[in-house]
């Protein structure tokens, strides 16, 4: 277990600033995801934490000890690579044993760890095989076992599931989370998949253009997005911009109420599932997508189209006029983004 503190980390490639002063604290034993679109700097930050990249500014500490200048081989972290990066000429067991051997762990302890991990990750039948003989999911498990074999305080995941198909992704995702709880390591997990981030994390750091735009518990991020970028990136959001007067904003759909102080130019958003049927907002149904448990209904009035999620039993068709409402507690006022 390890507590990671990153202060004011900046990385510059030539004239391009990949990271512009990132602060991050990962509590001991917590699961932290770095989420963001490609190019937001999340992998760069992970590489800085692993030691593959030297930050041009800032400081990294694990359990209070400064590790900024330490090379990767001297750090108490282990990385799970997107490409797995297994040693192709070594068997699965030798791959897993590589780390402990390098760190001069006693022979019987190495054997014990390898056996334990092989069993834990369901690789018993594959221990003697070369990595190329395994499927993607199995290779991902070997990569995970190899990282865990050095008993690191900090495990870094670089989009570990992006090369797996959807079903396997769910399965391995759950395995990773269960292992993390079991073993108790601190996890830093990079992903561009918001569903993955929400499902796994204790804390989500949503990154954009080299800074952390918002960090917090998954619920916080989802229900209380601070900026337009966050609202838009996580889940679906309906956005309106205009004058807020007496807690009300008039939109082409009708008047929306919001518990927020008034302003001349305020941006508000609400989630599709916050909408209730019946009420004083109305619009014409433009498109309907039946999803089983719910129906996605796209309703437009004037220039604006919003997305509503209503129960699956509701039978609406294109062209209908739909009456609905959004409770004030479901409407969130956004701040102007620092780097829109």
């Amino acid at each position: 277990m390890a507590r990671l503190v990153a202060e004011d980390i900046a990385v510059r490639f030539g004239t391009f600033e990949a990271l512009r002063g990132v602060d991050l604290t990962a509590e001991s034993g917590s699961f932290v995801t770095l989420l963001g679109p490609s190019g937001c700097g999340k992998t760069t930050l992970l590489n800085v934490i692993a030691g593959f990249l030297q930050p041009s500014r800032g400081r990294l500490a694990v359990d209070g000890k400064d590790i900024t200048a330490l090379p990767p081989e001297a750090r108490d972290s282990a990385m799970c690579f997107q490409s797995y990066a297994l040693f192709p000429h070594l068997s699965v067991a030798d791959n897993i044993a590589f780390g402990p051997r390098q760190k001069r762990v006693a022979r019987d302890e190495t054997v014990r760890r390898v056996d334990g991990l092989v069993r834990q990750l369901g690789l018993v039948d594959h221990a003697g095989k070369l990595p190329n003989a395994l499927s993607g999911g199995q290779q991902q498990r070997v990569a995970l076992a190899r990282a865990l074999a050095v008993a690191p305080g900090l495990v870094l995941f670089d989009e570990p599931l992006s090369n797996l198909d959807a079903k396997l992704r769910d399965q391995v995702r759950n395995e990773i989370r269960a292992l993390q709880r079991d073993v108790g390591f601190t996890a830093i997990y990079v992903t561009h998949d918001q569903a993955e981030a929400l499902a796994l994390s204790d804390m989500v750091c949503l990154m954009n253009k080299g800074v952390i735009e918002q960090k917090g518990a998954p619920r916080d991020i989802y229900f209380r997005p601070r900026t337009r970028f966050v609202a838009d990136f996580i889940g679906a959001a309906n956005l309106h911009r205009g004058k807020l007067c007496g807690g009300a904003m008039s939109t082409p759909l009708g008047v929306l109420h919001c518990c927020h102080e008034d302003g001349e130019d305020v941006e508000i958003c609400w989630r599709p599932e916050a909408a209730r049927l019946g009420g004083d907002l109305s619009g014409t149904v433009k498109a309907v997508a039946f999803q089983g448990a719910h129906v996605d209904v796209f309703v437009s009035a004037g220039p604006e189209t919003v997305r509503l999620q209503v129960p699956g039993e509701l039978n609406v068709s294109i062209g209908d006029t739909l009456q609905f409402s959004v409770p004030p507690e479901g409407v969130i006022a956004l701040e102007a983004s620092a780097n829109a």
Partner: protein, 274 residues
Amino acid sequence: MRKSPFNTILSGLLIAVMTVWLAVPFGMALLWSLVDPSQAWSYPDILPPKLSFERWSLMWDSTSLPIAMFNSYSLAPMAGVGAVLLAMPTAYAFGRLEFKGKAVWQTLVLVPLIMPGFVTAIFFASLLFSMGFFARYPAILVGHVVMLLPYAVRILSVSFSLVRQDVVNAARDLGASPISVFRVAYLPVLKPGIFAAFLIVFILSIEEFALAFVVGSPDFTTIPTILYSYLGYNFIRPNAAVVALILVVPNVILMLILERLLQSANPAGISGKG
């Protein structure tokens, strides 16, 4: 799967070309080397009238062939090892680093290849003499290493560029020392390139004439300098055939050994793909 007729024709053609190209000269050299000195092989005989190893023992006894063989067979592997070792840092830079003027440097490294061997040899020899360096054996060794270095650099650059950075990172991340990183991430990928570079340098060194002749003259012999002495004015084909075969045998043996070694290297182990 059944082969298509087109494939069969193509492979037949390939075998035919290879036969004409390799087997015929080799067979002719073999036949000529076995011609008995007492009975000449001349038109219209299809085969030599009498076969014997007379020429072989003659060459062995009457020329400096044993010494030349020792020189050539020991120079070639040392030049191979030397060139591979010296090429490593440059190849690493070309294969793994980005720096200004890389393309220019890559071309410059290959420039020695367009220089005729004799030009290099003559000025290399005069350089050695003006430095007061007269030991022929080390001089030729250095000369071969330097002349053949571009081949090794070229081959190893490609090998180095095939090494995957994520595997290198993974090894470091797991606490590997620089030596362990080299062993686990670099060596498996470099191995075929090292073999290939060694083989090329070995073969080119064993048949190198110009430098060995100019620097070694008048009395330092290698197999090619003996071979060349049987060409030209005092042209004796059967003797030349004997020397030519002696020249080619170690190449063939080495090729077969390396072929074996490379086959045992798992191709997926190099590319990382199944």
